[in-house]
């Protein structure tokens, strides 16, 4: 009986298969190389205008209007692009003091950011101040290890979001830093912080095993690495303690990496950790080329950084 049901179901789908398989050869070659581009920023800290000519080593760098044209040209080149931010969008220029983050979110929406995670400074006007600006953000906030259930932010963030680009599934989840000791408790109120490693293990299992994602990205505001605090969780530690994460996009420590760091995960597989400094001075760009597994070179994925 089971078998018959099986065949019946199969026949129901026949029309589709027949249409698609007029030539079986073309069907297999349909699975050729695909390219996904990930663009990212972190710790922009309300730096909407470019730095002036007198601003030391940052002179004449940054500026949202320039970033916009760069992103547009990259999207024209590859429409299968995701634009992500790793937090600390707020605080650092009078734009934040005057408008409370409204312009930051509006501009990120105009630049078509796909997702962002929250940094500690995004609580600088309190969790209520953050909530007030949400209407201006047309992108998804992802946060897997802040439990907002007893706060006004409840239901306004998701632990992860899955994007579909060119038939590929890209899972993006967010990880935030411990707020206690960094942010006044009256600001974050009843936001609960959950251990990043455990949550990331859950996230990668859900995204890989259940949702069958082709690419898994962690947007993290933990900080790149803490040399003087060996027990403090960081992106490098998280990368080494988890599996199935392809890329950690970090923030918080304002680390200027000239290229992404290749880290071995808990299974010994290479993955990437990246961070591009702060203040919108740089844009990170990571291209993932997808091919059928059999075309993978003998020594695995080639990482060119």
């Amino acid at each position: 009986m089971k078998r018959r049901d099986f065949i019946q179901q199969a026949s129901a789908g026949t029309a589709l298969v027949t249409l698609g398989s007029l030539g079986l050869q073309s069907f297999t070659t349909a699975a050729t190389t695909k390219k996904i581009t990930i663009l990212h920023t972190n710790d922009v800290h309300s730096h909407i205008d470019a730095f002036g000519p007198e601003d030391g080593r940052n002179a004449n760098k940054g500026g949202v209007a320039r970033r916009a044209s760069l992103i547009e040209s990259i999207r024209n080149e590859n429409p299968n692009t995701l634009l992500l931010d790793a937090g600390d969008i707020f605080q650092g220029t009078p734009y934040f003091n005057y408008y409370g983050g409204e312009l930051e979110f509006k501009l990120m929406s105009k630049l078509k950011y796909d997702a962002a995670t929250l940094g500690n400074h995004d609580f600088d006007n309190g969790i209520d101040g953050l909530y007030e600006q949400l209407e201006h953000a047309k992108f998804q906030f992802v946060s897997a290890n802040y439990d907002f259930s007893n706060t006004i932010m409840n239901t306004h963030t998701k632990p992860y979001k899955i994007f579909k680009k060119d038939g590929l599934k890209i899972g993006v989840f967010g990880i935030g830093i411990e707020l206690n000791g960094l942010v006044d408790p009256t600001m974050f109120k009843e936001t609960k912080y959950i251990d990043p490693i455990e949550v990331s293990q859950d996230m990668s299992r859900i995204l890989k095993k259940e949702a069958q994602c082709d690419l898994i990205i962690c947007l993290s505001h933990l900080g790149y690495n803490y040399r003087n605090e060996p027990n403090k969780i960081s992106d490098l530690k998280l990368a080494a303690a988890t599996k199935d994460i392809d890329l950690i996009i970090g923030g918080h420590t304002h680390t200027f990496l000239s290229k992404p760091t290749v880290v071995k995960n808990v299974e010994g597989i290479n993955m990437l950790v990246n961070q591009v400094g702060c203040y919108g001075i740089n844009l990170g760009k990571i291209d993932f080329y997808f091919d059928s597994a059999k075309n993978k070179s003998a020594n695995g994925t080639s990482i060119i950084v």
Partner: protein
């Protein structure tokens, strides 16, 4: 099995086979792109930002007060005119807030010399001046301290011999740096009194090695930024004319 079934099966298997051709990342390229002035400015984004920018510029540059002279934190040995102005401004702006919430008065103010980030220039004083003097987001907190902690605070100031801004505290040291007189609001320190000291959250958390704030009776967070206290003070006064006085002096 009928032939059609067999064909269905064949198709089905080929379908399965197709599913097995799951794509994997075979090559990853990462790079950093600098946002420099060689990039084009997106005109739509630029024109969207413009009214926000203009409003801020106009507001930052609107004149709030007039400064009689240029005051720098390097003018003065144990107290400076600009530091005195800041500490007094924090007292006069924060005390009504503290009093309305607690019914108590602030007894003294202590800020840090390093927290004065710019000069107070002669001429028109604007909000921009406040942003330049205090670019950080530090807020005023009031800490309840016992007299022995006030002693630690005073010892710290005498040891550092630096013009950390103070208000309502008067300190006199002799030529050897020993304390001759300590007064808060004109009175000697009483051993059984709790003193309410206004400072900023940075110092409260041990900034500049001010460790004496940490074993306190109570902390009152005013949610009032130092910069906003300066702006509020600029709005209230027409002419700024602070002086180096006798609040912290060495007698030789």
């Amino acid at each position: 099995m009928r032939l059609t079934h067999l064909i269905f099966l064949l198709y089905f298997f080929s379908f399965l086979n197709c599913k097995q051709l799951k794509l994997e990342p075979t090559k990853i390229e990462g790079k950093l792109i600098q946002i420099t002035d060689t990039l084009l400015v997106d005109p739509e984004i630029e024109s969207y930002i413009k009214p926000f920018r203009n409003h801020i510029q106009k507001d930052l540059d609107s004149v709030l007060a007039y400064s009689v002279n240029t005051y720098s934190k390097s003018d003065g040995l144990f107290n400076t005119a600009i530091g005195n102005f800041m500490a007094d401004a924090v007292y006069s702006e924060a005390n009504p807030v503290f009093k309305s919430r607690t019914g108590k008065n602030i007894d003294m103010v202590l800020l840090n010399h390093g927290g004065i980030r710019s000069i107070l220039p002669k001429g028109h004083v604007t909000k921009r001046t406040a942003y330049e003097i205090m670019p950080f987001e530090n807020s005023i907190v009031v800490v309840a301290l016992k007299s022995n902690q006030i002693d630690s605070l005073v010892n710290y100031l005498c040891r550092k011999k630096k013009a950390h801004p103070i208000s309502k505290l008067k300190l006199t040291i002799n030529e050897n740096g020993k304390i001759i007189e300590t007064k808060i609001k004109g009175e000697a320190i009483k051993s059984d009194k709790i003193y309410y000291v206004a400072t900023n959250d940075y110092l409260y958390n041990g900034g500049d090695n001010m460790t004496f704030f940490q074993t306190n009776d109570s902390l009152y967070v005013l949610n009032y930024k130092i910069r906003n206290a300066l702006i509020d003070n600029f709005k209230k006064i027409d002419t700024i004319n602070p002086v180096i006085d006798d609040r912290f002096v060495q007698i030789k």
